[in-house]
Symmetry: C2
Subunit: 303 residues, 2 copies
Amino acid sequence: MTFNLTILGSGSATPILNRHPTAQVIAIEGDYFLIDCGEATQYRLMENHLRPGRLKYIFISHLHGDHYFGLVPLLSSLNLSGRTDDLWLFGPRGLGEIITTQFRYSDTKLNFPLHFQETDPHQPAQILDHPNVRIETIPLQHRIDCTGFLFREKNRKRKLIAEKLPADLPVAFYRHLKDGNDVLDDLGQVLYRAEDYTVPAPPARSYAFCSDTRYNEAMFDQIRGVDLLYHEASFLDDMEALSEKYFHSTARQAALTAVQAEVGRLMIGHFSSRYKTTEEFLLQARSVFPDTVLAVEGETTEV
Amino acid sequence: MTFNLTILGSGSATPILNRHPTAQVIAIEGDYFLIDCGEATQYRLMENHLRPGRLKYIFISHLHGDHYFGLVPLLSSLNLSGRTDDLWLFGPRGLGEIITTQFRYSDTKLNFPLHFQETDPHQPAQILDHPNVRIETIPLQHRIDCTGFLFREKNRKRKLIAEKLPADLPVAFYRHLKDGNDVLDDLGQVLYRAEDYTVPAPPARSYAFCSDTRYNEAMFDQIRGVDLLYHEASFLDDMEALSEKYFHSTARQAALTAVQAEVGRLMIGHFSSRYKTTEEFLLQARSVFPDTVLAVEGETTEV
């Protein structure tokens, strides 16, 4: 199953050229899940050849502008493009009012159903049960209400052993075997046993998005063992006091979170505009948690 | 006096790569006047090396998103940059609510005074009397309330005749002569007559911004004889029926407006995303009004 992450923005609140505010796309099979939607995210989608028509779910972490200013423009453009498919939106209380206020004054009527569900910033909760993935909110510690999002793959299929497959078995039965079901004849006798022609499903993958937040021990149990953790790292180590004051994290704190929560890999982003380069973030994080990468705009990573 | 226009966006509602929504900067001496503020205008300012700190006045024509989605992001960034200078904002009823709703949820308190004045979409009105320019609204005919903006230069100075200036005249008196005042000695006797050392001030220049609107005879008298008219041309001639339906103009109608209002030069913009190139707009407009140019992003034009 396709399960990958494309970074559209790696910056923070103050914009600089060539570093954009937070937005990322999770692609799961044919569906796009957009996490946060900073200003001009729709241009980033175009640049990365990600068709907006495939967006089905949008998740907004919090109402600081660098995480949602691109949302109403994106909804407007989806409407102008003639979209009629349902769109699901998850975000903090107030996001609905922000959208309806703007659409009221522009006299905009959406031609597609927009389903908005408020997130609870205080308790983790499952907010979506998709055929391929379950999604929970992660309460974060920021200046205003803020949640991360945890994606857990489900229903991974057994894998066919290609060289063992009988030549006379119709392709239509492959799915049957991958679901773990034996192939029977008309009398109910087993013709082909699933366990003879397949190997067990690989473990379900998981992805946690944690931005914006200060060092947040309360979430460790919830995200423990995820394959990939995206954690904000707005500042370098020497700015820890300022970082704490603004409810942000340093590169070292992001890496410490990765260690404590025993995750597989760590990706850091949300770099403050005061830093023109990001190499030092990587060095500081890797000194604590070696399997760290930087969020790089335009790059796609398998989860 | 500096009086020029820089185009930041030449597109219309549906975004395409390399053509941005409406925004333009009038520079008058050291002050910037921003007209409309489509999504990501702050990035266009950076790309064109226009310092946001010099923005003093912002004018929003109407509340379709391609004319204002970049405003709240810009105000946020001005605030983050530590601005304390006053900023004046002119725009339709509702703009204030849109701003305060978003700042309420982001818990943003502006550190600079933002003075918002509602525009009247029905009657022309002077909205700003700046030391160098007077600015009026122009009622336009669009689907929702919409005004253009008319800039009329004032107080143009007489020009010094360099080769005639006496070598012993202190530079401090140049301004005196340019204001048309004679230089006197201590007894009140005329030493240097302004009309001997200067030529009369050139005629005051004027600029009219008219977007979005359908062909609008009601404004001809107000904009008659302006030096430069920016008029929207969303569509080519063959789309006149659609254009009329959506309260937009064709290239030919923009040019016809220039003819009827006897303007000096015409600039057309707000091109629909359905057109990948714009040469045909220029051909159609020039066949009616030869002194037409296209709005080109990043280009600066003297008014």
